[in-house]
Symmetry: C2
Subunit: 316 residues, 2 copies
């Protein structure tokens, strides 16, 4: 197991320049006033593909040997990693096959297809995506791009932390976390910040993992509106970083997430998907004391169906 | 009549630093592909107060003599100018009175109140806002901050054009226009660009003004979903700039605007109000040939009610 360092993140930033874009840090008076802090929203919904996943996928594909990459790539994903791998594959001119759960949001399915990828569907409860992936990989020689537990993917996601560091030195970073690729990458890039992971209520493996000091799993079949945060457990590499760097994990309810999406609509003027609003929800309703602090929150993505967004607009 | 120049815009940029914020230029692959151009979206919905109006208001208040400003300020506005003047007044620690039509969107009314301003309502069809304003100004010694036909306001709005110029040299700029403060300010800041004004269908005074070479009016009582683009006619100063610099005006229908809002939701991940989506609507459906060009579009604001946004999400 190779645990990446901030040097890997810096190398990733050079490698993905021109594939992923630098996203803005958004300030908002109402948000600062609501929590009594200086808050910077890293608007990764404005990333190419609509989510931070572009960074890790681009770095992972860039790091493949050209002759390996040329055979095509394979990914398992509920959505944003799929879009990202498909987009990066198109950038490099290679084929992509995505193994996607049958209940993935339509918008993510459509974007993946629009990027020219092939989708293989599976049932999230009854089928093993790993078995499907292993078969495809063996049959077609595809290179697996893991969603999080890969040094290049972690380093790629961490590049957004470097972009934060270029503009401010946050005391606290709130980041959504599930497999932990984003959160651990950001932790590498911002060694001076307190890292708080945000996960869906009822899907609190990271809180238990940190408390017990070993990787804990979620019960299968648990649902949350945060479709991007339903990984069964952390990876070995992300856990190695998390145990050192995550201060704690905070859980957010579906209703808190919907209210945060509405807050972002009304105040930030950003479209956030549920997973992308999780850190904002934790900031607004997570009971954290951030008064007087400089806080960065990761608004990790914006790929949300109109129907789900309407639910957020009706939230109260 | 004093017509501002690019030097006034540069002075405004220095004056409003720290009050208004620099907004990002957003790129999107789907948008580029849809129109065959390199498109840069100036995301003024991310401006303080949710719209570009902050720039002009901040510059106008900053330009007042301190003893004049201290007596308080007055504005007529359907919304975004109101929020901007209220926010700038709060920044300078002076009072603000806003004369607002009774049918202004709730979100704009609430934001104005939240910024500590006093609202005086009037009926858009039967009452004269000018008469109400003149009375308030006489009684209370308030300084009028005009919404567009003022050199400082025009120069302030133009600062967003300077921010565009710092990153690219657009061939074409599409900007919403009504009174013309934004469009003429942007024209000053980008002397090398072709300026295309976008106005609501049925409210096409700018097209007629440009064609006839004199200021034309809209019939009173005309409605459009673009509540920020319903000014009766251009001003003397904005017309003086427009006649020299606007290449043409393009009209957009309510449905085209709603579809553009939906496009921004799905692809850009930005919340745009109808007026803020007008330039995008013109780009997507205005029949302009922009193939191969570098195009900047001004997404001028994002202050939209949830109900109107739902209409956009349902547009097809």
């Amino acid at each position: 197991m190779r645990v990446p360092t901030i040097e890997d993140v810096r190398a990733a930033a050079r490698r993905i320049e021109g594939i992923a874009v630098r996203t803005p840090l958004v300030r908002n008076d109402a948000l600062d006033a609501a929590v009594g802090a200086r808050v910077f929203v890293k608007a990764e919904c404005l990333q190419r593909g609509g989510a931070f996943k572009m960074r890790g996928a681009a770095n992972a594909l860039a790091a493949l040997a050209p002759e390996v990459r040329a055979r095509g790539v394979l990914a398992f994903s509920s959505g944003n990693h799929a879009i990202a791998v498909a987009t990066a594959a198109r950038y490099f001119g290679v084929s992509a096959v995505i193994v996607m759960p049958s209940d993935a949001p339509n918008i993510k399915r459509e974007r993946t297809l629009a990027m020219g990828a092939e989708i293989v569907s599976y049932d999230r409860v009854s089928e093993s995506r790993e078995a499907i992936g292993a078969r495809l990989s063996a049959e077609r020689g595809l290179a697996l791009i893991k969603p999080f537990d890969d040094p290049n993917v972690i380093a790629g996601q961490g590049t957004l932390g470097l972009e934060i560091a270029a503009e401010l030195a946050p005391d606290i970073v709130l980041t959504p976390a599930s497999g932990g690729g984003l959160a651990s990458g950001v932790a590498l890039a911002l060694p001076g910040a307190r890292i708080i992971a945000v996960e869906p209520e009822g899907h609190d493996d990271i809180a238990r993992t940190l408390a017990l000091g070993s990787i804990q799993r979620n019960a299968p079949g648990i649902r949350s509106i945060c479709d991007g945060l339903l990984t069964e457990q952390m990876g070995e590499i992300t856990f190695a970083i998390a145990r050192e760097r995550f201060e704690r994990a905070v859980a957010v309810s579906n209703q808190a997430v919907l209210r945060a999406m509405k807050f972002a609509f009304l105040n930030l003027k950003l479209v956030l998907e549920p997973s992308g609003a999780a850190a904002l929800a934790a900031l607004l309703e997570g009971g954290l004391d951030v008064r007087g602090k400089t806080v960065a929150i990761i608004a990790s993505g914006g790929n949300v169906d109109a129907e789900t967004f309407k639910r957020a607009l009706d939230a109260c």
